[in-house]
Symmetry: C2
Subunit: 355 residues, 2 copies
Amino acid sequence: MSFIDYIFQLTTYSELSEKLQQPLVSLLLLLFLTISYLMGNSLWHKLFGRNKFLPQGKHAYVTGGSKGLGKAVAKLLASKGAHVTIVARDKEHLQIALDEIKDAAKNREDYKNLIFTAISADVTSYEDSVRALNDACEIHNGRAPDFIFACAGACKPGLFVEQDILEFEDGMQLNYYGTLYTVHEGVKRMARQGIKGKIVLVSSILGVMSFIGFSQYSPTKYALKGLAETLRNELLLYDISVHCYFPGTIDSPGLQQENKTKPKVTSEIEGAEDAILPDQAAKALYKSLCRGDFHITSDLGGNICRVASKGPVSPTNNFIVDSLLGGFAWVGGIPFRYYIDKKVKDSKAQYPISD
Amino acid sequence: MSFIDYIFQLTTYSELSEKLQQPLVSLLLLLFLTISYLMGNSLWHKLFGRNKFLPQGKHAYVTGGSKGLGKAVAKLLASKGAHVTIVARDKEHLQIALDEIKDAAKNREDYKNLIFTAISADVTSYEDSVRALNDACEIHNGRAPDFIFACAGACKPGLFVEQDILEFEDGMQLNYYGTLYTVHEGVKRMARQGIKGKIVLVSSILGVMSFIGFSQYSPTKYALKGLAETLRNELLLYDISVHCYFPGTIDSPGLQQENKTKPKVTSEIEGAEDAILPDQAAKALYKSLCRGDFHITSDLGGNICRVASKGPVSPTNNFIVDSLLGGFAWVGGIPFRYYIDKKVKDSKAQYPISD
C-alpha cells in the first residue's frame, strides 16, 4: 500500500480508480499551495489583516531620496499623504525629485497641508547626518520623523584582489555608516519624544547570500541585516518597529554605475536577471510594511533567499508559505552552489593574478 | 488507522501489541538520530573522511594571537608542527604567548626546525597590517603564509541609544577591518605565489542572530559572514579555501571586558551560559577544519543557529544532521523569540530614555 493510497483512504475518493489518483493528488497539492500562497500574502491580509503602516499625516525621512529606490519610496509615501523629507548630496537631483514628489501628491485633498522638504547632506558624514536630521525636525517644530527610510547605498563590484582597500572603506562608509548615523540620531530623538515609529533599513539580496565580485558590497549589506536583527528586539523598549528590505536588482542610476566595474563572470552568474523598476520595488516594500513584515523582499527568488537565511530568531512573514519556501531553498540551493562554483573554477584562465 | 500503524505495517513488528508500539517508535527515532549525529560528525569522518587540514610544516599567521582564542589556536597549531606567527599590539602579552606556543611544540621531533614569531602591530591600521604580514613573509624567505587565522576582535555591549557613535566605529574597525586588511593583503600574496592555503574568519554566534545590547558588535560579525560568503566562491579562482567560525561565548580576557558594559537584560537573556575555554574553542575549530567545514561552530546551540541562517548558497556540513537541526531551529526559534521580546518589553521601566 503506497502512502498516497493511505492518504486517500481518509478521503471520500478512496473508491476512485488508481489511474485517477495521481493527477488528483497533484491537483490537491497545487490547490493547497495556491491557497497557502494567497492566504500568506495578500488575500488573507486584505480580508483579516490590520494595516500596520498608515503614512497619512506622518513624517517620513528618506535618505538617498533623490534617485532610485529612495525617490520612488518618497513619491509613494507622498501619494499616501505623508509629509516627506528627502536627503541626498546633489542639489540638482534633489530639486527634480522634490518636484516629482509634489506631483505625486497634488491630487490629494490634503495636499496644501503636506510638507515636502529636500535637504542637501552627505550621509557618510556623521556631523552632516545629524545636521540634516536636525534641520528636518526644525521644519516640523522640533518633532522627530515618524518613519526613517535609509535608502542611500551603492555597489562597486570587482575582484577582491584587484580592488583597492579604499573602495571597501567607501562602500562600508556609505552603505552601513550612511544608515547607522541617521538611524542612531533618529532613534534617539524618536525614543525621547515617545514617537512609536518605524525604521526601515535597506539591505539587499546580496545581504543574505553572495558570490564572486561582491566582496566590497555584500559585507556592508550583511552588516545592515545584523543591525536590523539587534534593533528589532531592542527597540521594543520604545515601541519602534524595525524592518529590513532585501530587494533584488533595481533598474536605477546606481545599477548603470555598478555594471561598469562588474567582472564578466559575475554578470554571467546573474544572467539575464530582470531588474525591477524603482517604483515596483517601492510598492513591494510598502505592501510588506502594511502587513508588518520584518524581513522584506521584492520577488520569489528574494523570498527563497530570505527564508533560507532567516536565522533562529527572526520572525517568518507567513509560517506556512515560508516553511514551504524554506524546504525548497534547503534543497534548491545545492545545484545553484554547484553552478556558481563551476563558473568560477571555469573562469580561472580569464583572471590570472598580476604582480 | 494512525500513521504510526501504517509505518509499522511495513515492518516486522506489525504483530506487536499497541502498547509496545509507541516506545519502540521513540527508540527507533532516537537510534536513527544518534546514528545520524555520529555519522555526521566524527565517526563517519574518522572512518571514511580525508583530513582536509594538515598544518605540519606549514606557516600559520594568527592575528589576535597573544590572548584568548588566537593564542589557543596558535598553541594548537604549533603542537601539530606548524610554523606560527602571532600578531598583536601588546609586546608583553606577545612574549608570554610566544613562550607558551614554543612550550606546546617542544616535545615534537621537528621542534628545532619550527619557526615561531611574534610581531607587534595594530591590525586596525591598514599600513601596520601590511607591514606585519610583510615582516612575517620575510622571515619565511618572502613566502606568504599557508593559513591566515583572523582572530582579533572585541565586543562592547550597550544600549543602542546610549552608545557613542565612536564605539560603533571602533568595533567595525577592529572586528571587520582588522580582518579585511590582513586577509586582503594575505590573499593577494597567496594567490600570486600559488599557495593553496586557507583563510579562517572568526565571526560569532552573534554574527548569525542577535538581540538587545549587541548593536555595536553584531553588525561587524554579520559583515564577516558576508565576506566569507563571497570569498568562499571567489577564491576558488586560486584554490584558496575559506572558513567562517561562529563560536559561542569564550572565557577569555575579552569576555571580562565585555561584561563590564553589558546591560542587565542582555545578561539575563544570555542566562547562565557556559563559556567554553579558549583551548576548547580552538579544538572545535581544528576538528571542523580537518573535516573541511565552511561554517564552523563550537556547540549544539551554535549548530542550530548556523543551520537556521545558512542561506541558500552556503554548503551544509552534513546534509542529514543539518536538515534535522534546521527543522528543529525553524520551530524551536519561535518560543525563543517570544522569550527575548517579552524580556525586553518587561524591562522598559529599567531603561528610561534620558535627554
